[in-house]
Symmetry: D2
C-alpha cells in the first residue's frame, strides 16, 4: 500500500524538486500540496516542469490540510517548521527540509538564526558515521543544508581517519537555486549571468556551524571552519573545494586509501578514478556525490573536492533518501546516480 | 524477459542521452556500447553523468559486437547507418537516430546530404497522422530530426485542420548540444555564452525538407518552409516559433479548438492553458512537448510555439518512444513528462 | 566648453549604460543623476561597474534638480516622460529613452500603451531615410525601442528598394536586460539560465506599431508585421530574424546590392561579408549593428538578420548618437564599433 | 607622434583583447598583426567584434614582419617568446603576455614548464611594492598571469603589513576565456554551461610559483600557497577567494586599515566600501580590480576577495598599463575602471 505524502511549501524550488522525485518514487502517493501566498493557484503556473501535477491546486498550510498523511515534508522558511510539526502526530513521519532541527547546540542556533532553538532531530545525512542507524524508524528527520552536505561528505573521511589538522578552509560555488525564488535584485538573470560573487564572507553563513558540528563529530575534536560561499552563473549545483592541513606522515596514498575505505559501500557517493575531477554538470538532477581528493605536498594540505546537485542530494534527494531509511524501504528507491548532462 | 539493446555511438550526446533513458527503462538490458575513435575508453571518462555505466568500456562498431541484441540503436554520423544496418538481421529492431532513412524523396536527400539515398523507414514521430500505426511491429525506425520534431508537432494541427496557407515561416533556437561534441571554434563555451547566432540561413539547413515532408502530408498539399535555426547560449532545448498565414474565417477560437482536438490524447504533447507560454527549461530532460498557439488578427497569422528538449523528445526520447511502440510495450515506458528545473 | 548632461533614471539598466558611455564621451560633463525609489543612495551600490561615479548620490527626479543642464536624458518608465519634459525649457535638449514620443499615430499609442498620446518627437534612428536631417538641431529626441532598432535596420533596405511584399514575419531573441531591473519571478537567474521562452505573442508587443511605422515609411505603403519576441539566457543582445516574401524577379544578387547601397555610408551599420553571420557577442557593449541577408529561393523569401546590443545601439548608444547629431557634434563621438568579446 | 605597435598572436583571446584596448588608446598606431596557423586570414573572421580591423589580414610571425615597430606585444604560447624576442632590437619595447619571463627561480620554471628558463624581465604588476619603478623606461616587460594578478593584489597588503601567517589558501574561479581558444572537449559550450569544475588541483597549476614569488616578496619570507583553480560558466572574469591565518592581535579594523593604506593611491585597485562584495560582472571589460576583505574571528583567518577581468587587467589591460609606464605615458591612458554590465 502506498505511503501518502504531503508537501508543505510546494511552490518553491525545494518543494518542486521534491515533487519531481516523488512523482517517480514507486512507493509514494502524492497527497496535499500547500503554499502560503500561492494557495489557490494551479501548480502548473508555478512549477511548469511538473506536467503530471499541472492541474493540482495549492492549499493553505494548515493542520487540517496536512492531516491524514503518512509523511509530511516541510519546505518552509527557517523558523516555521516547529509550529507546524507540533500539530502533527507522533506517528507521522515529519521531514524538515529547513534548518530548524539541524543544530545540536542551542547557542549556535540562536547566534546564527536569531530565534529560540526548537530542538534537534536525527540528521538526514546517512553517510556520516552513525547517522544511518539514527534515521532507521525515526519519525522526525532534519535534512541537512546543501553546503554542509557537500562539505561534510568531502572532508569527513579525512577527519575520521585522523589525517587532517582541525582547521578546514572551504570555498564553495553554488547555483542560484540555492538562494530560492526570492525576488532580490542580485538574483536577477541579468545580474547573475556572467558573474561570480561571494556572500556571507568571514564566518557569517548559517551553514558554518552545521559543518563544524559534522566535521568535529568525525574528528573527535573541535574543528574550526573558514567557509566562503560564492554564487555561480548556473541554476543548480555545488562545487565545494575543501582543504585542511595534513598531519605528519600523510601521503597521497594514505589519503586516497582512507577515502576509498570510508566511501566504499555508499550507494550515492563516488570517489572518482585518479585523474578525473568532479563537475557539477555530471550530477545535475541526480542524487550522486562525486568526490576527488589530492595531497598537495608542497603546501602540506589535503584538497578534497565534491560536486552535488544542491536541490537533489543537497535538499530533496537527501530528504527522500532519509525517508526511505526511516520507512524501512531500500535507501535508493526513487533516486538515481544518473545525471542529466550535458 | 528483458529486451537486450546495443548502442552504436555511445560516446556522443545522442548516445549518452539514450543511455540515460535506457538505464531507467524497466524492460531494457543494456548490451554492447560502441564507439569509433573512442573504442577502448571507459564510459566514465566520456559520459561522467552515467555513473552506473562508468566502468563499461566502449567496443568498436562492428557487426560482431552488435550481434545478439534485440534492439540496436544507431547514433552515428549521417551516412553511416545504412552500411551497419544491412549487416543486422531483419529480426533485429534497428532504430536509426541519424538522418539516413527519414526522407521519402531521394532527390531531396541527395540535394541536402550529397550522397545516394539509402531508403525510407517508418518515421518515429508517432503523433503525426498515421505514424503510430506504421511503427507498430516495425523492425526499422527512422528517428526524426530535433527541429522537425518541434516544428511538425507545433504546426501539423493547423495544417491538418485546413487553417493555414501553405507557406510557413519558422525560426527556432537550439541549445548547443544539438551541434554535437564536434570540436569547432564557434561551439567553444567562450563563444557561445552570451551570444545568439543564426546558421544555415536561407533554406540550407538539412532539416528543412523533413519539415516540408511532414507539413505537406498533414496539409494534403505542398507546404513551403522558410526555416532559420539559431544557436542559443544553453546546453539543451529547442524553442520553435512557427507561423503561417491563416485562411479566411480563422479565429483564435477555431485555432485553439483545432489544436485541442489534435493533441487531446497524446501522452507527451501538452497544449498549455491560455496565457501560459512554453519555456525550454520546463521540458529539460523530459519527453514532453509543450505548445501554445495564438492568432494574430492584425497580421493574419497563426503563431504556434513549441518547446522540447532536443536530446530527449528531439532525439533519444523519441527513439525510446518509437521502440516502445515497435516492441508492443506501453508507449510511455521509461519516459516522463517531468522536467528537471530550474 | 563641455556640455552638461543630467540623467533622470540613473539606477536602471538604460541609465547605467548611458552613464557608461557618457563617462568616456569627450564633450560631456555628467551633471545630476536622479532616481525615485533609489534617491539618496550611492550609485556605487546600484551600478557597481561605474567605479568613477561610485560616490555620486542619486537625487530625486524634480524640475529643480534637472534644471541648469544642456541635455537631459529621460530613462523613465513609459508614460512619465511628458510630465518631466514639459517642465524643462525649450532650449534644453531632451532625449527620451522611453516610448512616449515614438509613435506618430495617437490611436496606436492608446491601443498599445493605454494612456493618452503625448506627441511625437524626431525619431532617433538616424540611419532611416530622412531621420538624420530631422535630428539636426532638434531639441527633442525620441530614442527608438531596442527591437525596432534591430528590425528596422535589418529590413528597411529591402522595403526602400521595393524588393519585399508588405508582410514581414519577425522573430527576435533578446537578452534579459531588455526587461529591465524589475523584480519578476520569470526574470530570476534560476529561471532564465538554460531557458528560451516567448512573450507578447500574437501581435501584442508594444514595439510592433513602431516597427510597422518604420517599415511602412520605407516601403511607401502599409507593411503588416508578425512579431514574436523571445527571452534568451544572456544579459545583453538582440538577434532579429526578419523575413518577407520577395517580389518577382528578386535574386540573391539584387538583395545584396540593395543592402550594400543602403548601408554603405553608415558608420555603425555593417553588412557582413558573404558567409559570415551576425552574433550578438560581437556587438556586446558596442554601438554597431551587424547585418547579413540571404534570399531563400525555394521559399521565396528575403531573410535579413541583425545583431545589436540592446542597451547600447538599442537604447543608450542610440541616444548618444542622436545627441551628437542634435548638438552638431561628430555623430560617432563617444561611441565605437568595438565589441567586448568573448 | 604615435607609437607603433605590433601584435604577435592576434587571433587568440589575449591578442583580441589587446587590440580592443589599443584601438581606443590615443597614443598608439596599430601596426603588424601576426598569427601562425591563421596567417593569411581576415581578422574579421577571427575577431568579429573588432569591426575597425575587420579587413586587416594576419601575417606570419617573422622577424621581418615585426621589424619597424616601437612596441611588440607577444601573445604566444608559453615557450615561444624568447626566440622571437631575441630577434628584436634592444631599443624595441617587448611586452610578453606569456609566462616565459615571469619567474625569477629557474628551478621553479623548469619544474612547472618543463623547458629551460629563458630569464626574468621586469614584472608588469605595477601595484606590487617596487614594481612600478622597475617598469619605468624598461624595454622588456613580463605581463603577470591572470590568477597571480587577482591573488597577489588581494593578499599582498596583508603580507606587506605583517598581518598574516605564511600559508595562504586560495580558491579562484575563472571564466573560460582563461583557457584560450584551444579546441578541447571540456571547453565546449555544452560542457561548460551549467557546470563548475576544478583543474590543476593539488599544487600543479603553473601560476602557483608566481603567486608564491609575489607573496613571499611582500611578506619578506617564504609563503606557501595552496591554490585551486576552477572553471566557471562565464566567458570572462576571475573571482579569487584568498585566505590566510591571521597573526595574533589582528582585528577587522587593523586588516581594513592595512588594505586602505596599501591601495589608497592605486588608479585601478578599489577597496570596496564595507558591506559590498566584488562581482566579476562589475569589472567586465575594465582594468579595475575590486577587493573586499574580512577578518573571520572564529576561524582566525583573513579573507580577501578580488574580482578582475582575466582578459583585461589579467592580461591585455595589464600589458597596456605596463606599456604606458615603460613609455613614460600616463599609466591610465587607454584604460578605464568602467565595466560593461549587466
Amino acid at each position: 500500500m502506498a505511503v501518502r505524502a504531503a508537501v508543505a511549501g510546494a511552490s518553491g524550488y525545494a518543494g518542486g524538486e521534491l515533487l519531481r522525485l516523488l512523482l517517480t518514487h514507486p512507493g509514494i502517493e502524492i497527497g496535499a500540496l500547500t503554499g502560503n501566498s500561492n494557495a489557490g493557484q494551479r501548480l502548473g503556473a508555478l512549477q511548469p516542469h511538473l506536467l503530471p501535477l499541472a492541474d493540482r491546486v495549492l492549499e493553505p498550510t494548515t493542520p487540517e490540510v496536512l492531516a491524514g498523511h503518512d509523511v509530511v515534508f516541510l519546505a518552509l522558511p527557517h523558523g516555521q517548521s516547529a509550529a507546524v510539526a507540533e500539530r502533527l502526530g507522533g506517528d507521522v513521519l515529519v521531514i524538515d527540509m529547513g534548518a530548524d532541527f539541524r543544530l545540536e547546540d542551542a547557542a549556535d542556533w540562536e547566534r546564527f538564526y536569531g530565534s529560540p532553538h526548537a530542538g534537534t532531530w536525527p540528521y538526514g545525512l546517512p553517510e556520516l558515521p552513525g547517522a544511518r542507524a539514527a534515521l532507521e524508524g525515526s519519525k522526525r528527520v532534519a535534512v541537512p543544508g546543501c553546503y554542509p552536505t557537500a562539505v561534510s561528505l568531502a572532508l569527513f573521511p579525512a577527519y575520521a581517519a585522523g589525517l587532517a589538522e582541525s582547521e578546514a578552509v572551504i570555498v564553495a560555488a553554488s547555483g542560484t537555486s540555492g538562494a530560492g525564488k526570492a525576488l532580490k535584485p542580485h538574483l536577477l538573470g541579468s545580474e547573475v549571468m556572467g558573474s561570480m560573487s561571494p556572500y556571507g564572507v568571514g564566518g557569517g553563513h548559517r551553514h558554518t556551524p552545521e559543518m563544524i558540528q559534522n566535521l568535529s563529530a568525525a574528528a573527535g575534536e573541535r574543528v574550526s571552519v573558514s567557509f566562503t560561499p560564492t554564487l555561480a552563473p548556473m541554476p543548480r549545483g555545488i562545487l565545494a573545494t575543501c582543504t585542511a592541513k595534513s598531519r605528519p606522515g600523510v601521503t597521497a596514498e594514505s589519503v586516497r586509501a582512507a577515502y576509498g575505505k570510508a566511501l566504499a559501500d555508499e550507494p550515492f557517493v563516488h570517489l572518482l578514478p585518479e585523474g578525473q575531477w568532479p563537475t557539477t554538470a555530471s550530477v545535475h538532477g541526480s542524487n550522486a556525490v562525486v568526490i576527488q581528493v589530492a595531497h598537495d605536498e608542497a603546501a602540506g594540505r589535503i584538497v578534497a573536492i565534491s560536486a552535488i546537485d544542491n536541490l537533489t542530494k543537497g535538499t530533496a534527494g537527501g530528504a527522500v533518501q532519509s525517508m526511505n531509511i526511516a520507512l524501512g524501504l531500500d535507501e535508493t528507491t526513487g533516486l538515481t546516480t544518473i545525471g542529466v548532462a550535458p
